[in-house]
């Protein structure tokens, strides 16, 4: 019997607590009119960046596709017949209806090509419109790393430089020589 | 008044006909509810307002709901079997009996003396006073009837477990 009174009292206290909420300010943000403040490091939409030379940074290493926990990245590598030894993706496709914006791809990317930017307004009427192709992803800038150029620092031979000519790179060791 | 009465009477009879001929239990029940509501209207027209209200509340609202509840608990209805059981032959005997009954009662009503009818105003007060006055034993008996009804329903309604069977 005492329990019943206890329950009743608690229920009425509950009513009062909720009723007091009438006089508190709602936490809702009236979004389209009222823009929320986004921190600069907010992670939103994924873009592919270019290096300062205007070339694609992506070398189609598949690390991003491997790292993606929801498998929303699809790409295929190919080599540029003109620029020898330079790889680039033949297609690069992100299905944003699956992407969870976790940023793993960004962390996995060895060339800083894939980056998450603060944009989040991606609503579409049709689901298929959320599949972004390389043309949709590629931007013309360098993103967060303005001076970085992968091929400059990578120890591979490109059409501009030979082995050992990259930045902070020693000339190649002659393995046949006995000198240190 | 009279028109209303005859319409309600027609509804009652037709709905009742459907009740006893329908093969679908829930539909039959719904027809019966309709018949009950029409009957309540007739009660009202006869001056028994309280009875009319009770007819709907208790009969329509409780007893019939109980019926539907049980029909639901019984699971899927064997409509086809019902259809096979309802051969025209089954109607003959009961039909004759009922006709004889109808004739006899009709005869009784026909030869009965006709007094001027007094449809009086609703007398809930009179009903209550009579109920708790001269009919108090009846009320006691009714409560005595309801108690075994309660106990019986409780006892019968329990599903017999496999072990105890």
């Amino acid at each position: 019997m005492m329990n019943i009174w206890l329950y009743a009292r608690n229920l009425i206290i509950g009513l009062w607590i909720v009723f007091k909420r009438t006089f508190t300010k709602p936490v809702t943000v009236q979004y389209p009119e009222e823009r929320p403040y986004l921190p600069p490091r907010w992670r939103g939409r994924i873009v592919l960046t270019r290096d300062p030379d205007g070339e694609e940074r992506c070398v189609a290493c598949y690390l991003c596709a491997a790292a993606c926990p929801v498998d929303c990245i699809a790409l295929q590598a190919t080599e540029d017949p003109m620029a020898q030894d330079r790889r680039y993706p033949e297609f690069f496709r992100i299905n944003f209806s699956r992407c969870i914006y976790c940023g793993m791809c960004e962390e996995a990317c060895p060339t800083n090509a894939i980056q998450l930017i603060p944009d989040f307004e991606q609503s579409e009427y049709a689901r298929r419109n959320l599949v972004y192709e390389k043309e949709d992803l590629l931007i013309s800038g360098t993103g967060k790393y303005p001076g970085y150029n992968f091929y400059r620092v990578a120890g591979v031979k490109t059409r501009d430089k030979d082995k050992g000519q990259g930045e902070n790179e020693l000339p190649p060791v002659d393995v046949r020589s006995l000198m240190p | 008044m009279e028109t209303l009465f005859y319409i309600a009477a027609a509804v009652t009879v037709l709905a009742t006909l459907r009740v006893i001929t329908h093969v679908h239990a829930v539909h039959a029940l719904l027809y019966l509810v309709v018949a009950l509501i029409a009957l309540a209207l007739i009660f009202y027209l006869l001056g028994a307002q309280f009875a009319a209200a009770l007819e709907i509340i208790i009969y329509g609202g409780a007893i019939m709901v109980l019926f539907i509840f049980v029909v639901m608990l019984l699971g899927p209805l064997a409509v086809e079997q019902e259809r096979t059981w309802l051969t025209p032959g089954t109607w003959v005997g009961p039909g004759i009996l009922a006709l004889v009954l109808l004739g006899e009662v009709g005869y009784l009503i026909a030869v009965g003396d006709h007094l001027p009818v007094t449809v009086s105003e609703a007398r809930q007060k009179g009903v209550s006073i009579a109920l708790y006055g001269p009919y108090i034993i009846g009320v006691e008996l009714a409560s005595m009837l309801l108690l075994p009804g309660l106990i019986g329903a409780y006892h019968l309604g329990r599903r017999v477990s496999k072990e105890s069977r």
């Binding site: - | 007094t118 449809v119 017999v160």
Partner: protein
Amino acid sequence: MLSTPALVLAMMLFSLGLVGLLSRRNILYMLLSLEIMLNAASLAFIAGGARWGQVDGEIMFLFILTLAAAEVSVALGIVLQLSYRFHTLDVDAFSEMKG
């Protein structure tokens, strides 16, 4: 002025209920027919009460209502029990009380 037609109506309803009771094999319909007959009886009581200007008719109706409530609760319990045991509602299947 309505009580004679009401009596006739009660009679018709009673006959219909009777026919239903005797012709249906499903115990559920038999119960429904019983309800119809009870209602016919109460209609007759109320018509009688209206005719003689007495309250006894309505009181009898109240008693019939009580009776019906008790009857239905027990009868439906029996129906459930029969259905669990015999897996049918055929009233002719429940003939274990044969003398």
